[in-house]
Amino acid sequence: MPLVDPITMASAVTKKGALSQTTTIEPSSSPTAEPYNLLPVSINQTPLAQTLRHAQPLLLSGVLALGFSSLVKDPVAAMSSTTLPLTVGLQAAYAVVCLPVAGRGGNDTAKKTKPRPGEKPSKKKAKEGGNNAYVLAVLSLLITALVTPFVYVTMVLFGAPLLTHGSHTLLCAAHLSLLGLFPLFYVHGVDASAWAAIGGFRAPLDETFGGLVGALLGAWLGAVPIPLDWDREWQRWPVTILVGIYGGYVLGKVVGGTLVWGKKF
C-alpha cells in the first residue's frame, strides 16, 4: 500500500500549498487569531442623545450645503475654514452625547471578562466617570488626526494626484476619517481585535460601522463623475469625493442605526 503511506504523497499534501512534503511536518502550530464577536452599539437613551442622533445627519447635510458654493470655488479654503471645523464640532458633540464611551455601552458585554490588549487607561476610567467622555473625544480626535495620513496614502493609491493637490487630498482624507473612523475610535478605542473585526467587515452594523461603510462606498462612488467632460465647476478635485463621503456617511449611519441594526455582512 505505498500510496497511502505518509512518506509518499498522502496526508501532508492534501492541503494545496504545503511547502514540501515530508513526514516531519507537524500539524501547523502557527499562531491563529480567534474570530472576535463584537456587539452592535446602541445610542444613549437620554432625550438629548436621541434628538441629536436624528439631528446630526441634517446638520451634516447643512454643513455641506452651506459650504458647497465656496467649496466649488476654492476647495482648500472652504474645507479648512468651513466644513472641517464644523464637522469636527458636530462629530465630537455627537460622540460625547450619543455614543457609549469605549468599553461601555453595547459592545462591552461580550468581553467584559477579557482584558483588552490595546485599551488605554483613560478609557477604563471613562467607565466610571462620565465626564471623561470629553477626554475620550479629544483622544479619539487625536487618533483620527494620526490616521489621516494613511487615509491620504490610500486615496493616492486609488489614483488621487500624487505630486499636486496635496492639501486638497489631505483635507478630503481628514473628512473621511472624521466621519467614518472617529465614531469608531470613540466607541472601540484602539482595541486591535475590535478593529480586526471592523476591517474584516465582521462587525455588526450600527450607526458607527454603518457610517464607515457608507462613507467608504460614497467616496468610491464619488470618483465616478470626475472623468466626464462636462466641464462643470463641481467636478473639481475633490468636491465629488467629499460629497460622496458626506452622503454615504449620512445614509450608512441612518440605515445602519435603524433598518439593518445588528445585522452582519
Binding site: M1, P2, L3, V4, D5, I7, T8, M9, A10, S11, V13, T14, K16, G17, A18, L19, S20, Q21, T22, T23, T24, S28, S30, P31, T32, A33, E34, P35, T154, V156, L157, F158, G159, L162, A196, A197, G199, G200, F201, R202, W220, A223, P227, L228, D229
Partner: protein, 1078 residues
Amino acid sequence: MPPPQPTPKKAVPAPDYKTLKAQWEAAKRKKDAEDATKKAKEKQEQQQQPTAELNSDEIKLRELRRAALEGRRKKAYKSRWLWTAGFWVWMLAVHLVGIGYFTSGFLLTRLQLDDKSLCEVPPTAGEGDILPAWSGKGTVEGGCWYPKTFERAVVVLIDALRYDFTVPVDDNAAFHNAFTFMYETAVKEPNKAFLRPFIADPPTSTLQRLKGLTTGTLPTFIDVGSSFSGTAIEEDNLLMQMKEAGKRVVHLGDDTWDSLFPGYFEGNLSRPYDSFNVWDLHTVDNGVIEHIFPLMEKKGQWDLLIGHLLGVDHAGHRYGPDHPEMTKKLRQMDGFVRDLAEKIDDKTVLIVMGDHGMDSKGDHGGESDDEVQAALWMYSPKGIFGRTKPDFATPPATADIRPVNQIDLVPTVALMLGIPIPFNNLGRPIEEVFAGPRGNSWNNLAAAERVTAAGIKQYQASYYAARGMAEEAVSTPGSPADLWNKAEGLVSKGNWVAVYSAYAEYQKETLARCKSLWAQFNIRNMILGIAIMGFGVLTLLVYVSKGAEDDEAVDDPELDDAEKSLEIMGVIPDSELPAADVLERKLVAAAFLGAVPGLIGGALHAYLKGTDDYYRGAAMAALTSIATVGVSLYEIKETLVTLLPSTLWGWMAAVFTLSQSIGFASNSYTIWEDSILMFFSTTFGFVTALSALRIQSLPDRYMAIYHSVLFVVLGRLASSSKLCREEQMPYCTSTYYASSTSSTSALWQLAIPFAVSLILPTIIKAYLQPTRSYEGLAPAWIGYVFRTGLFMSALYWVLDAADNGDWIPNLPDKTLKNLSVYNAQMVLGLAFVAGTTAFMWAPPCVSIVTSASKATPTRAQVAILGYGNAHGARYLLLPLNFLVSLILLSKPMGGGALALLFWQILSLVEIVDLNSLSSTPIGPVMLAILGSFHFFKTGHQAVLSTIQWDSAFIPLFTVRYPWSPMAVALNTFAGQILATVCLPLLVLWKASPKQKGLLGDISRKLGVFVAYFAVESLATMAWAGHLRRHLMLYRVFMPRFATAAVVLIVVDLVGLLVGLAGVRVNTVAIGEVFGWAE
C-alpha cells in the same frame, strides 16, 4: 507550440528526468517493501499463521498494472485536452464570425462609379457661358473646360509636412523655423507663390490621402485596412485624365503610388522606393533629389512630375517632431525646394504639399488637428497668383485660418493643366490660382467655380441614380438643389462676385451632405454581428458556471490514491476512464452538428435569392452552432440564474466588467480608461487587504495583507508610465518618452531595463522559495539565462539610443544598428527557441532529499522539496520566456511596466491562494484588468496613432512577413499577452502533482478571462454601432471597438496556442515523474 512527441530529442535532457524518476521510484519501492514486511509481521503476530511473503512476481505484476493504469490515464488526459482545445477553437471561430460580421456592416462603404469626365463635354454644356470662348476650347491643347494656364506641373509631396513646420513660429522647437523658403516667397512675391493650410480628410494614412488628392472624393474607412497591400484606383482621377489626354507622368519616391496607379508612369524615368522602412530617413529623399534635377533639364519628356519624399514622416515616426534629426530633415527640404524653384520656368507650376500632418509624437492616422493640418504651396515664376483681399497676402499664422481642403487640389490642377475635372470630384477651385494677379478676376473665379459645381451636380445625379435614391427636393431651403438654382439664377445678372460665392455655397453644402451620406451603415449586418457576440458570451458564461458544478464531484486525493492502489492490486477491475463523456467533447460535437444546417441554410438562401452574400452562411452557422451548444449546456443542468454572482467577489468581478462596459458609451470613460482600470485594481487590493483580516492563521494573514498592499503599490507605481492621448490634455502629462514631442527614451529611462534585469529574477526567486520550488532548472534558468536575456534587452536600448543620438561619431555607418538588431535577435532566439525547448524538456522544479527520519532514525525519510508547487513552479518558466521578449519589444519605460505587471501577477496569485478565492471569478477578471491596464502603461492608447510601428525594426532591418507584424503585435498587446500566458498560474500555483481536474479548471478560468474581453468587445461594438452618428465616432468609439476586437482575438489565440498547450506540456512532464493524477 507542438506537443512533445519526437523521441530522439528527448535523449538530451532524459538523464535529468530519469534520475529524478528513478530516485522517486527507488524511494517508493523501498517504502513498499518495508511496509509489506511490516504488515506481514503484524499479521504473523496477530494470526500466528505463516504467510507467504510477497514474492517478486507479485511485485512485478503490480508494476505492470501500474504502468497500464498510468498509460490509460495519460491517454485519457490527452484526449480530454484535445476536446478542450477543440472547444476553444470553436469559441475563436464564433468570435471571428461575430466581429467580422459586425465590421462588414459598420465599416463605411461608398459606391464607386465608373463614369469618366470627357474633355469635349463640359458639365455646363448647353447653358450660357461666363467666359468668352477661348482658343482650343474643348481640347487638351487649349484647356478642356477652362483656359489652360500651365503646360506642366511638378508636384512635390513631402509626407507629413504639417502646416506649422512651414510658417514662422516664435519658439525654439526643433520643427519650427527650419523650413522657411515657402513662407518667404509667398510674402515677398505674392504673385509668384502662395502658402495655405491644407486640411486632410481622415483617416490620415498616406494611401487614403493619395486617393483623395487624385480623385477629389472622400475616402471611406473600409480602405484603411488596405494600407499595407495597396490596391489600384479604378475611379476617375487626375492621373487617369492625364493618361487619357496622352500626357506623360513620371513618378519618383514612395512606391505606394505604384500600387495605386500601376502602369501609369514612364517606366524609364520613374524611380519607386520602398515606403515602409520607417527606420531609414534618407534613401527615399536622396533618391528623389538625385533624380529630379536631371529631369528638370529634360522638360520635353514629361508633363506631370511627382516626387514623394518620406524623410520628414519617418523622422517623425522614429524620433518624434522635436528632435535635431527633424530640424536637419526640414533644412534639407528647405534647400531642396529652394533649388527646385530655380529650375521652374514660366510654363510650369511647382506644387509642394504635405499629405497629412503628425501628432505630437510624430505619428498619424487619426483625425486630430495636428494630424489633418498639412501645408500647400504653389509657385510659378509667371506671377499669376492673386489674392481677393489684401489681408490674404501673408500666409495664415495658424492652420485654423483660411484652410483649403485637400480635395480642392483636384479641380485646381485639372483646370490649370487644361484637363477635365475627374468625375467624382467634390472639391472646389483654389481662389489664389484663378483670382488673377490683381485679385479681381471675378469672372474667371465664377467660371471656374461654376464648371466645378456643375461637375459635382452631375456626379450627384449619377450617384443617386446608381443607389436608387431620390435627391432632396428643390423646395427645401438650403438643400443643394435649392442652392444650385439660386446660383444659376444669378448667372444672367452678371454679378460675378455673387455668382462665385453662390456656387461655392452649393459646393460646401454638397460636400457636407456627402460626408454624412457616406456614413451609411448596414444595420442588419451590425445587429447580426452583435447577436453572435452576445450569444457567444452567454454560452461562455454558462460553460464557466456549468463546469464549476461538475468539479465538486470527487476531489479527494486520498480516496483517489486508495482507488488507484486497489486498481493496481487488481482488486477492482480497470475503471473505464471518463474520457468519453467529457463536457467539452459534447460541446464540440454539438457545435459541429449545429453549424451544418446554418451553413447550408445560409448558403442556400443566398443561392436561391440570387444575392451574393454567401458569407451570410457563416453567420447563420455561428448562430445555429451557438444555439445547439447552448441547448446541450442547458440540457446538462441549471438555468441562467446560476450566472448571477453569489459572493462579494463574484459581484466585484461583475461590477468591474459591466461598469466598464457601460462606461464605453461615454467618450470620457473611454478616454480615461487607464485611470479607471487602476481604480478597479486598487479597489480589489483594498478589499483583499481587509478580507485578509478574516484569515485565522496569523502568518497567512500578514502575508495576505503584505501581498495586497504590494499589489496596489506596484499598480500605482506602474501608473506613472503614461502616454496621453490628445483628448486627455491638459490633464495628463506623458512620461513614456523623453518629452511629449518625442518618441525616443530619455537617458534616465535607459536605466530602467538594467534595474529590471538586476531585480526581477531575485523577486521571482523570492516567490518560489517559500514553497521550496527554486529547484531543478529554476536556479539556472531564472538566475542566469533569464537575467542574461533581460540584460541584453537593456543593452539593446542603449545601443539604439547611441545610434539615434550619434553618441560615437566616428563609427562606420550602421555599425550600431547592426549590433543592436543582432542583439535583439539573440534575445528573441533565447526566449522563444531556447526557452521553448527548455520549457518542453525541463524536469519539475523539485529536488529529492533523502535523510534519516528524526523520529525513528532507522527509517529512511524522503522529502521532495517543491512538491506542493510542482505544477506552478514549472509552468512559470513559460511566462518568463514571453516576459523577456515582451520587455525587449516594449521600449525601456514599457519594459519597466511589464516587469511590474509580472510582479503584480505573482502577488495576485498569492492573494487568490491565501484568501481562498480560487472558486470565484475575481482572479481571472483581475488578471484581465491588469493586462488591459498595462496596455496603457506600455505606451499605448486605443487610437491608431499610438501603434509603435518602429517596434517592427527592433529585431529586423526591413519589413519581413510575418515577423514584422508579429513584432508590432507583441509590442502593442504586451500586457494582455503576458496576462494570458500567466492565466494557468491561477490554477497551477501551489498545485501539487496529486491535484485533479487541473485542465478543466484552467479551461474555465480561461473562460472567465476571455469572457471579460468578449464582454468588452461586445460592449464597444454595441456602443460604436449605437453611436454611429456621434461626433467622436472615429476619434473615440471606433478605435476602441477595433482595439477590443483585436485584443479578443489575440487573447483567444494566445490562450489556446500558448496557455493550453503549455499546460499540456507541463502536465505531461509532471505526470511522467509523479504519476498521473488526472
